[in-house]
Amino acid sequence: MAYKTKNVKEIPNGGKISTNIALAGNPNTGKSTLFNALTGLKQKIGNWSGVTVEKKEGKRSFNNFELSITDLPGTYSLSASSLDEQIARDFIIYDTPEIVVQIVDASNLERNLYLTMMLRELGARVVIALNMMDLLEKDGSSINVQKLSTEIGIPIVPMIANKKIGIDDLENAIESVYLEDQKPMEIKYSKEIEEVLSTIQKMLLSIPSIPSSFNLRWLAIQILQNKSDITTLLESWNVKSKVIGELTSFGKEDYEAEIIDSKYEYISKVTSKVWKKGETKVTRSDLIDKVVTHKWLGIPIFLLVMWGSFQFVFAVSVPFMELIDMLFGWLSGLLVDNIRIEWLGSLLGDGIVGGLGAVLIFVPPIFTMFFILSILEDSGYLARAAFVMDKLMVKLGLHGHSFIPMLLGFGCNVPAIMSTRSLKNNKDRMITILINPFMSCGARMPVFILFAGLFFGASAGTVIFALYVLGIVVAVLTAILLRKTFFKGESAPFIMELPPYHSPKLRSATIAMWDKGKMYLKKAGTIILIGVVFVWFLAAMPFGGVEYGGPDTWLAAVGTFFEPIFRPLGFDWRIVVALIVGFVAKELVVGSLGTIVGGGESDEGIKSAILADEGFYALNSLSLMVFTLLYFPCAAVVGVIKKETGSWRWTIFAIVYSTVIAWLFAFAVFQIGSLMGSGL
């Protein structure tokens, strides 16, 4: 529960030492990169702040050590101002890892050392991993590592985590800190503060329920700074509220300011001794940012990058999709024609191969999409795109900091919604969560690719682009609506730190593509498989005599029941059924259509089956795409909305609102299209 003041250990003869360390540090300094290098795990890495929002544990053995390593979210200090910072702070303060490895961004020494001060004042034993030495070098600056280490009394290991340089030295440093003592650092404050501190410390000492090993000076400093959660901590020790009141009455804003100032003063004194800045030249990053975050050019460039990305995704995946479609069409026909037991042939051919095939066709575009996303993320461009969009949001009277989660939604809305934990203001966070499902995730892409490809030919890439943009527009409009109604009030100020550009690595993009793509394959083997078998079953029932997928089946009964609601959107009962099944996972929209439409006839993939079917044409496929884009987020997203908002009310709101919006937009598309008689 607390950091001990003295902690010298010896290695037991021949025995293993198992101990736990935490990786802490400011956001985007390379904690997760180091964590992956140490543990061999694959925590998500990205070139912006707030990638990691949950702690994650891994293991590493070296020499006699068995380390359990915890990767933490980034934090600037130990006074948490957002959920993810709170997770990091709580772990360091209450779980008291044996050693805290602080990852410090070498090109941002001064700001990073502030956290070091907090950690040392708390009494944590710290090793500094001085990361991103390559960027420091590029910048022309230098740090006298030896001297810095002596000044602050902490071992420092220079590293380049993404190239795995410095790992051995880090192990040695961890070992030596484990074996030696590291006293808590005491920064001397003004005489007045020191006097009050010792008074508080005396009071604390007389409270028996406070664990004797707890660092009382630290506690006193927190009380002096009016830290609100200290009250909670004291309460947890059953300290009487009267005593708590007495203690907290010492707190003053002036003290807090002074305590912070003293730390910064100390830091700047130290850094001035060890840090040599390279000659200030305008960096390439700055020059590029001047263009891509330009007030007029920024958003057009972002849209252009998106448009180009979809062209790329579409172009690259078409030939692969053709091949897969032919393969599954052929396989399905083979099964239906050659298996004697008719229902089994139908189950395998129509149900499983038809439905699953319809989903697996979309492996190429989804993989390509993930590939591009991870290149954009890693290069640092994604953070710029988010920045220009956030600036627009702020201009519209909304909050900033919401576009990284939104752009992540292009991959999957679940991690995207979790990433909102780095938002400081709760109302901002609620809005960002609720609008996220409008960002079109990878699972909706099959519907777009299928129908845009079939009915919009050469403009398919542009149609898909337009759908994504529509998603963004609806999200922003919804944000405005929510801000004006349920979530009135101030939002957190918008300051965003732009990460440095990296040249994206083909290898890491490929790995990221595979990791995320694998999820899609896994889903195909589980939920989607079950889903299509279920759909097949209903499409074949009741047994005997009914035509598979025909109007007399149970499936048709369900579909036709709801059909009237959807007729104004141009959907027949089969589309209705597919959309309902899509509640579970949006891939199932295409999967079910594959099972229903693609089934029955031999030698046909889903594409030719749909093209031959009179129930599908350009206009209703457009309204279907719009509806799929906007309606009910999938089951997993509903789950995460509930978890992150902690409210059923808002979860239900998200479901109902999005479905109503989807209906209205699809209705408008279909009706206006019909009126124009556009020949679609």
Partner: protein, 163 residues
């Protein structure tokens, strides 16, 4: 000193000339693209926009337009005596990205048309895809060659850390 002044004068001229050509081309493409949309909606295969070699298209035209705009903003930045390397680089990198994309599409089109024999490719010719590349390439290629060191940073050797 003298040399760097020359380079910046050079760049000023390059940016101006490059952007003007791109802006004019962009407007032509967009107008032609609009005509083509009209022609397509009336299913006029023999329409003149489909015959002239200059590639029509609204969206690709917008790409060219944006690159032209980036460069012209860069030109005005150099006129204020400031550094426009970023403008030159970003415009050129976007252009190179799209050239790469169009080449890729061309290769895939060839594959789709000849290896897979897809029906959509009945009236398609290599030239239809190729002309994009022909019209988009010269200026960015020229910029890349001339200003290579601005656009692509020179790689430094990996540094060794003292232990």
């Amino acid at each position: 000193m003298e040399k760097s002044k020359n380079t910046s004068n050079n760049m000023k001229t390059s940016l101006l000339a490059g952007s003007l050509i791109f802006l004019v081309a962009a407007i032509a493409e967009i107008i032609l693209g609009a005509f083509k949309m009209y022609a397509d909606s009336k299913e006029l295969e023999e329409h003149w926009v489909n015959i002239i070699p200059f590639p029509p298209g609204i969206f690709p035209g917008l790409v060219v337009l944006l690159i032209g705009l980036i460069w012209i903003v860069g030109y005005f930045v150099t006129r204020k005596g400031q550094n426009a390397n970023g403008h030159l680089s970003v415009g050129t990198i976007i252009a190179l990205g799209f050239i790469f994309l169009f080449i890729l599409i061309l290769l895939i089109d060839i594959f789709n048309a000849y290896a897979l024999g897809l029906e959509d490719y009945d009236g398609w010719t290599i030239l239809a895809s190729l002309r994009w590349i022909i019209f988009l390439s010269p200026i960015p290629m020229f910029f890349t060659m001339k200003y290579r060191e601005f656009i692509f940073t020179r790689k430094k050797k990996t540094i060794m850390l003292q232990s």
